[in-house]
Every structure is written in structure tokens, then in C-alpha cells.
């Protein structure tokens, strides 16, 4: 069973969403529906599974419905049709109290513009989720201090959010989400409002934290590089439709349609593709010139050994961790794998 299952979810914004449902189910696209009925299609038959402990990145341009999708998971927005199962329970079946309880314990969220409480100190902000859980104040402060330390903000706990820089504010947001100790973390364009250096810093921090905590993270972004770096799986949304779901390599190597192709066109493939993806297996690699070989690990990214190959004009021998030869990459194949579109 997947941690989160989204089954045929539709979301239509407008006065009378139900009346438009048959039309949308018949396959009318976003523009047609808007023109004929004045309703906006937010999500159009989205189904996907998110496994426990993985980082699922949901990607798309603005208006593609990605923020709408993430808000369905904790029901900040209710779907027009479809089911959302979290650990096998349909979140639509919750009544008010159950929903509040669910939000307090199962999920936490990080927001694009941080969503911090300006009238509370950093410490109070981080402890907010615990306050909602009804934890006593000393326990709240202790846990909050731990998380503040984990995101590297020790010494700032008594400041107010607007005394901090953007990057620091988002760290507070991250600490607040971590403090509740929920299994699932929703991150809505969490790093999009930060400048590139700080963004890359925060991505690294998230990866480090994730390698320890193994939470289920649903991450929304419009930045492909970010999604490739963070995601175990990536789902690409276009105009409310899920176009492709797959691992980063899948997306790069086999884009499902022109939209995804356009997306991945400018990506630095060398950063994403590992040696084992492009190698030819030993049995099939008889025609490769084996006189001039450089050994690379199968899990290395192309980027890491590319300069060496280019300078020495040699071929690669791909080995696994214990040194067994797994396959070969010829100079030419390397070239094509990096330029193929």
C-alpha cells in the first residue's frame, strides 16, 4: 500500500462545479470549459501513488494546478470528484474533528512565502504545531529548540520573523514543519522565493535532513533542476493533467510528450544521468576499443568523469562497488546520450 494514493481527482473552480463535471470527464480541455461555462479546471483526472519515505516532486508551470494538488492532500481545498487515500484512509470521509486531528498529527506544511506568524517569535512559530497538538509549554519549547538547532538558527529563537532574512525565515518554516514529527511533509514551492545560492543551500539541508528522517515529502516546484536534485519520483502537471510520472532519469531520457520535452531541453544531463544508465552491458560491448579505458563507478554522474574522458579521448569501463566490470561506455555513446532530445 502506498503512503498516499490519489485516485481520479478532479477539481473545478466556479459557481457550480458539479454541472461541468460530465463535460470535463468527456475530455473537454481547460480552454473549452472556461470559454463555454466560465469554470476553471484546476485538476483533471489526476491519479498517482506516493510511497513511504520518498520525496515526490510535483512539477509544472504556474497555473498547472500543482499548488491546488498539494492542498488536496490536507484538504485545504476539497476535490470536486475523486478519492485521496492517506495510509489507506480516505481523507474525504473525515468529519471536522477528525480532519483537525489529521492535520495536527499526520501532515505538516511549508509555504512559498513562509506563512510565518508575524506576531510570534521564532520559538513560538516553530512550536505552533505542538501547541495545536496540546503539548505543554516546556515540552514544546524543548522540541522547538531542537529543531531550531537542526536548521541552524540557534541564537535567533527570540527574534520576530521579519527581523530575519528570507532564507532564515524559510528555515523557521522548515523547523516548524519538522517539529510536529508528522510522517508526511508538504512543501509548496518552499524554496522558490529564495535567491539561487540560498536555494541550493536549503536543498542540500533538506537532502541531509531527509537522509536521516526518511519522511514522505511532497515537494512542489516549477524549477526542473530542483526537482531533479530532490525527487525520487517526479510528476509533471500541465493544465491540470498529469503528463508523466517517473524517476528523474526516466523524465530526461524518455519524455512523454512535447511539453515535457520542452521542459527538459535545457537541462544539464550530465548532472542527472548516472554511468549505469547509459552503459552497454559487457556482453553487448564487443565492438568497443578496450585499449584505452578509464574506470568509473556505476553510480557516478556523467558530470564527474566527463572532463577526464574528453581530455584523454578514451572509453569508460563501468564497475560496481566491489570492482566487478558491469559494462562499457564508448566516447561516441557518451556524446549522443548528452545531446539526445
Amino acid at each position: 500500500m502506498s503512503k498516499i494514493e490519489i485516485k481520479n481527482v478532479y477539481k473545478i473552480f466556479g459557481n457550480n462545479p458539479q454541472s461541468v463535471m460530465p463535460m470535463v470527464k468527456d475530455g473537454a480541455n481547460k480552454e473549452e470549459v472556461l470559454e463555454q461555462t466560465g469554470h476553471t479546471v484546476g485538476l483533471d483526472n489526476v491519479s498517482l501513488n506516493i510511497e513511504e519515505g520518498e520525496t515526490f516532486v510535483c512539477m509544472g508551470l504556474s497555473g498547472s494546478g500543482k499548488s491546488t494538488l498539494i492542498r488536496h492532500l490536507n484538504r485545504l481545498i476539497d476535490p470536486t470528484d475523486g478519492e485521496i487515500l492517506v495510509e489507506g484512509t480516505n481523507v474525504m470521509s473525515f468529519n471536522k474533528e477528525q480532519l483537525i486531528d489529521f492535520r495536527r498529527h499526520k501532515m505538516s506544511m511549508v509555504f512559498q512565502r513562509f506563512g510565518l506568524f508575524p506576531h510570534k517569535t521564532v520559538l513560538q512559530n516553530v512550536g505552533y504545531g505542538l501547541e495545536m497538538q496540546g503539548k505543554p509549554e516546556d515540552e514544546r519549547d524543548r522540541t522547538a529548540m531542537e529543531k531550531i538547532e537542526a536548521v541552524g538558527l540557534t541564537g535567533f529563537e527570540n527574534q520576530f520573523p521579519n527581523q530575519l532574512s528570507g532564507g532564515m525565515q524559510q528555515r523557521v518554516g522548515l523547523a516548524r514543519a519538522l517539529a510536529t514529527d508528522s510522517d508526511i511533509m508538504l512543501m509548496d514551492e518552499a524554496f522558490s522565493a529564495l535567491d539561487p545560492l540560498i536555494r541550493s543551500d536549503m536543498q542540500k539541508q533538506l537532502l541531509d535532513l531527509q537522509s536521516e528522517l526518511k519522511k514522505t515529502i511532497v515537494f512542489i516546484t516549477h524549477d526542473l533542476d530542483e526537482s531533479l536534485r530532490l525527487g525520487d519520483h517526479i510528476g509533471i502537471l500541465n493544465a491540470g493533467k498529469l503528463v508523466q510520472v517517473g524517476t528523474p532519469v526516466d523524465i530526461i531520457m524518455n519524455p512523454a510528450d512535447d511539453y515535457v520535452k520542452a521542459f527538459v531541453k535545457d537541462v544539464n544531463r550530465a548532472k542527472v544521468i548516472k554511468a549505469k544508465v547509459v552503459m552497454k552491458k559487457t556482453e553487448e560491448a564487443n565492438d568497443i576499443d578496450k585499449s584505452n579505458l578509464i574506470k568509473v563507478n556505476e553510480d557516478q554522474f556523467i558530470e564527474e568523469f566527463l572532463p577526464q574522458i574528453v581530455c584523454s579521448n578514451s572509453n569508460c569501463e563501468v564497475v560496481d562497488k566491489s570492482g566487478n566490470v558491469k559494462g562499457y561506455i564508448s566516447n561516441k555513446e557518451l556524446q549522443t546520450s548528452l545531446t539526445k532530445s
Partner: protein
């Protein structure tokens, strides 16, 4: 769509029928109508000058209604009257019996804390308070009477106005119903609701309190509503996402963040209450207003001017206290970045 159109049509037809019914009623109840309707068709002189029979007997209805109201529900109004009067008397007697230096000092201390320990504001307010009595010894007691009526009215405004504002911020439908009522309360000339006040409560302070309440409550309601709705949407979403209940959201997030706006509302409310209390001297309410009135009646420019200045001083004192409290609140909630950091 069809049902909607029909509904509108029926509604319009209903309005037309109502209008015709009003015409018939006003014609038949008029004493100055021609002996039979046929005359109207022979003699068209009624088209030139507004005919005496085309007169809606609203005045009669209201008078009859008021009489009935007074007869059947008089005890309710009497209870309200006694309650308000008791409150007013307690407050007034307390302030009048207290030695005047103590009152001046008290106001100064309040100003000191409300302004966040600003010496300038405090001294200024202290001097203004002193000058009210200094202008004319009798003004001291009159100013206290005026202030007491105002404070009771403002208390009523807070008790009734804030909950209404909160309700309005929650539901569009309620807001759409209440907004026109607020407009009405502000546009009906103040004198007009002094009269029903007198009819129900008799001459004196209580109708003044009621009229002041009606006149001064709209800005508080509006600014409470506005303040709550202006709270950053993402901050509200954050509270929701962490499982805040409606009550926790209101008192923990919305109200604290709306407080600067609400304080502005209380400030507006205070100023309008003062102007109304002055007007209320026309119906025999004692206070600074009746000094102005006396000055006018005796053609004593000096006396009227002195009283006018006293009113201005009182306004300054009240404005400084409420205004600076709002400002200090805002500073505390949103402290500026520390300089040189």
C-alpha cells in the same frame, strides 16, 4: 438558468404589485382626495402640482408603531434604561467625586502606558487634560459627564460591534446583508435617531448613549471586518494546515494580526462618539455640548468658543491615547530590523 430568470421576473412583478398597493393605500387613506376617482380623469391639474392625496402615510404608521411598541414592550426599554443609567451614574460619580489632580494624573498615567512610555505624548496629554478645567472650572465636571456618556457608548460599541465585525469577516452572505445597514446608520442624520431615543427612553443621557452607539459603531464593525480579512492568506492557511480549530485561529492568529486595524476602528469610534455626544446636548444631555448651546443662545461668543476649545482638548486627549496605543501595538507586532545588523 431558466429558474434563475423566472425568479428574478417574479421578484420584479412582486415589487410592482407592492408599489401599486402602496399607491392605492396612500390614496384611500388620504383625507384630501377628490370625491370620486373619475374626477382625476376629467381634471388633470394634479399633474402640475404634486397632489395632496399622493402621500404615503409612513409618518402615521411609524407613530402608531412606536406607540404600540412602547405600550407592549415598555418594560424592556425601561430595563435597558435603568441598566445604562446605573452604569453611567456609577462611572460619573466616581470620576466627579475623585479629586481632580488624581483624575489628571490617572489620565496621564494611562497615556504613558498606552503610548509605550513616550514622554512627549504623555506630557502633552497631561497638559491638555489640565487645560480643560483651567479654561473654566465648570468645564471639568461637564467634560467628565461627556466622557462618561462616551465611555459607556464605546463599551456598547465594543460589546456589539466586534462580534458583528468578526461574523462579517467569516461569511460573505452576512457581510452583504450588514453593509447596507451600516451605510444606513451612517447616512441617516444624527438628529433623526435622537427622536425615537427620546420616545423610548425619555429625555436625558440614555437616548444620547443609544444614539451615540448607533452613530459610532459602524467604523468599528467595518475595520474589525477589514482587519480580519486583510490578514495574510498564507498565514491563515498555515494555521489551518497545522490543525488550528476555528476558535484557535480567531484568537491566536486573526485577532492579534487584525488588532492594529481594530484599534484604528476604536479610535474612529471614539471620535464619532464625541461629536455625537456634543450634538446630543440638543435633547438635554448634560456635558460640554450644552455649554456651546448656552453660549449660542446668549450670543456669548467667548463662552461658546471656550466650550468649543474644551471639546477639542477632550478630543485630543482621547485621540492621542487610542491612536498611540494602536501605534505601539503595531511596533511590537512588527518590530523594525535592528539598525547596523
Amino acid at each position: 438558468m431558466d429558474i434563475k430568470k423566472n425568479k428574478k421576473l417574479f421578484f420584479n412583478i412582486g415589487l410592482l404589485v407592492f408599489f401599486v398597493w402602496l399607491l392605492i393605500i396612500s390614496y384611500s387613506s388620504s383625507k384630501r382626495k377628490p370625491e370620486n376617482v373619475g374626477e382625476l380623469l376629467n381634471d388633470f391639474s394634479w399633474l402640475q402640482k404634486w397632489p395632496k392625496w399622493l402621500d404615503l402615510p409612513l409618518m402615521k404608521w411609524i407613530n402608531v408603531g412606536f406607540k404600540k411598541l412602547n405600550e407592549t414592550y415598555g418594560f424592556i426599554f425601561e430595563a435597558i434604561n435603568n441598566f445604562l443609567l446605573a452604569m453611567l451614574m456609577a462611572l460619573k460619580n466616581f470620576l466627579i467625586l475623585a479629586p481632580w489632580p488624581a483624575v489628571v494624573l490617572g489620565v496621564t498615567v494611562i497615556a504613558y502606558f498606552a503610548s509605550g512610555r513616550k514622554i512627549r505624548t504623555t506630557v502633552f496629554v497631561g497638559f491638555c487634560t489640565f487645560f480643560i478645567g483651567f479654561l473654566h472650572p465648570i468645564f471639568w465636571q461637564k467634560a467628565i459627564e461627556t466622557t462618561a456618556i462616551m465611555l459607556i457608548s464605546i463599551f456598547l460599541c465594543l460589546v456589539f460591534g466586534m462580534p458583528v465585525g468578526i461574523l462579517m469577516s467569516r461569511a460573505e452572505r452576512i457581510r452583504n446583508k450588514i453593509l447596507p445597514v451600516l451605510d444606513l446608520m451612517q447616512t441617516i442624520p444624527a438628529f433623526v435617531y435622537l427622536i425615537p431615543g427620546i420616545m423610548l427612553f425619555g429625555l436625558g443621557a440614555v437616548p444620547a448613549i443609544i444614539a451615540t452607539f448607533i452613530y459610532a459603531v459602524p467604523p468599528l464593525v467595518r475595520l474589525t471586518d477589514l482587519g480580519i480579512r486583510l490578514v495574510d492568506k498564507e498565514v491563515i492557511e498555515a494555521a489551518d494546515a497545522f490543525g488550528a480549530s476555528k476558535k484557535q485561529k480567531l484568537w491566536g492568529v486573526q485577532m492579534p494580526l487584525a488588532l492594529p486595524n481594530i484599534m484604528q476602528g476604536i479610535n474612529q469610534c471614539t471620535m464619532m462618539a464625541l461629536s455625537m455626544v456634543v450634538i446630543a446636548s440638543m435633547i438635554g444631555t448634560r456635558g460640554l455640548g450644552d455649554e456651546v448651546l448656552l453660549g449660542l443662545q446668549q450670543l456669548n461668543v467667548g463662552r461658546a468658543a471656550e466650550a468649543g476649545i474644551a471639546i477639542v482638548l477632550l478630543a485630543i486627549v482621547l485621540d492621542r491615547i487610542t491612536q498611540s496605543y494602536g501605534e505601539t501595538l503595531q511596533e511590537r507586532r512588527a518590530p523594525e530590523k535592528k539598525k547596523g545588523k
